[in-house]
């Protein structure tokens, strides 16, 4: 067992866990996005979706717990890798430039720690705004449930919230652009041929997720729905 413990602390293990937790979080984000998109189906759709989720009870709590564990590990390792990197080069260069392709040192790659920390702060506010909020209730098909639709509509009337939400989602897209590809590489799934393909897919996925999340608040703010 100590072998596995040591492995988790090794440089391979750390990235492996970062990658697995990252991909887990991406799955969550995709589900979350699909949930969000149900807003466009009207109050009934999104409220029912939310209600069904809550009805899962224990299962939901297990998922939440899992998500929390993934999240904490991901944050811990991300920060730790960043600290390690600072320790590994105590004196930096006066001049530093990337050589360009095949380097993947994009702006998103270099700012993982920044986008990561902003996302973390965002999540705290986000939970406060939605998850821990005292929702109004509504009755759909005779069932009383939280009126998520109303809350969303209310929140995204505020410009400060909308703008910061949109900006954060841009950062999320960037984080995923490097993160998704990087996870596959960290898991050792890359080969010479798959490398550029997965890199492009990650780019597109980051873009879709960012655009997907931005769509809702923008639509609400400008009264498009």
């Amino acid at each position: 067992m100590s072998k596995f413990k040591a492995a988790l602390q090794s440089q391979v293990g750390r990235k492996l866990i970062t990658g697995i937790t990252g991909l887990g979080l991406v799955l969550f984000i995709i589900v979350h996005l699909l949930g969000n998109l149900s807003y466009f189906g009207g109050p009934e759709a999104i409220n029912t979706y939310s209600h069904t989720l809550h009805e899962l009870g224990g299962l939901l709590w297990a998922a939440r717990l899992g998500l929390l564990v993934f999240f904490l590990f991901h944050i811990y390792l991300g920060i730790s890798i960043w600290l390690e990197k600072r320790r590994a080069r105590p004196v930096g260069y006066e001049s530093y430039n990337s050589r360009g392709v095949p380097s993947r040192q994009s702006w998103s790659a270099r700012s993982m720690i920044i986008t990561g920390v902003i996302l973390l702060v965002f999540v705290v506010f986000h939970l406060n705004t939605f998850a821990f909020h005292d929702f109004q209730t509504t009755v759909i098909n005779g069932v009383e449930m939280h009126d998520v639709h109303a809350r969303l509509t209310e929140v995204f009337q505020h410009e400060v919230y909308t703008i910061s939400y949109v900006l954060t989602m841009v950062l999320l897209g960037m984080h995923l652009r490097h993160g998704v590809w990087s996870s596959f590489q960290s898991l050792g799934w890359m080969s010479r041929n798959s490398n550029p393909v997965v890199y492009s897919i990650a780019y597109i996925l980051g873009l879709i997720i960012a655009v997907g999340f931005i769509g809702l608040p923008v639509s609400i703010y400008f009264g498009l729905v």
Partner: protein, 251 residues
């Protein structure tokens, strides 16, 4: 191509010893021939410095044909300078323009302490190899070389990884100072050869652990290492290293 002499402004890191404080010092060379190699420009500069009674700049170099891996200069913020697949010793001044200012700094990493000026200590790489970068076969114990057939494809892949010259550009260019490409290349070479099979698990674990022990950073998949590698070793080596490592956990 022009044979016109060029003026080049250099900002070179000078540091007296391992514990001294260093700084960038400005030098101007007004008679740089475009056909000079980058290191020949340094030879030339050193001759001038000595004739003025100043201390020459120390830098590591040996074969000057891109294979020994001795030379190590961060040129304008890029390991070995701007030319693809080229070590500093094979970089020629025709890659630069008249009037350019060029920054020249040593490899920077905690695991590569500076000895003097541009010279660093790369013995950490030797210790990574020492941890497992070999096949345990004594002299005289070998069977006939053709007794074991190796598919050409596998041999070619192994060769691609084996071309590493151990210069350390991967570490120098990596924002995290990771040695994963160096370590991965050796692990991946043996992973593609039957000779490497008996020890593959121990090798992967020992070499990866040593990398950390030496104080290199984690790999964040920037792939800058592949871009600067004079032998263009692919970061697939790092993916292979990770696979080997994970496999090594399950006996």
């Amino acid at each position: 191509m022009s044979d016109q002499q060029m003026t080049i402004h250099l900002k070179v890191w000078r540091q007296k010893g391992p514990n001294s404080k260093g700084e960038l010092v400005d030098y101007t060379m007004d008679d740089v021939n475009p056909h000079m190699s980058f290191l020949e420009m340094f030879d030339w500069l050193n001759e001038k410095l000595m004739k003025q009674g100043e201390e020459p700049i120390e830098f590591d170099h040996d074969c000057r044909e891109g294979i020994c891996g001795s030379c190590n200069m961060m040129i304008n913020g890029q390991a070995h300078g701007p030319q693809k697949a080229t070590a500093a010793c094979q970089l020629h001044m025709r890659q630069f323009s008249d009037g350019d200012t060029i920054y020249v700094e040593p490899w920077r990493a905690k695991a590569f302490p500076i000895i003097k000026d541009l010279v660093v200590d790369r013995s950490a790489f030797d210790r990574i190899v020492e941890a497992g970068g070999y096949v345990s076969v004594n002299t005289g114990g070998a069977v006939d070389a053709n007794a074991q057939l190796i598919p050409k494809k596998e041999a070619d892949i192994a060769f691609d990884y084996a071309t590493c010259i151990g210069c350390g550009a991967c570490v120098a260019a990596c924002p995290n100072s990771s040695a994963s490409l160096f370590t991965g290349a050796k692990i991946a070479q043996f992973a593609h050869l039957p000779q490497g099979e008996p020890e593959r698990k121990e090798r992967a674990r020992a070499m990866v652990d040593q990398m950390k022990e030496e104080g290199f950073g984690d790999c964040s998949n920037f792939a800058e290492c592949e871009a600067v590698c004079p032998k263009e070793i692919s970061i697939t080596a790092i993916a292979e290293m990770r696979r080997e490592y994970v496999k090594s956990l399950f006996d």
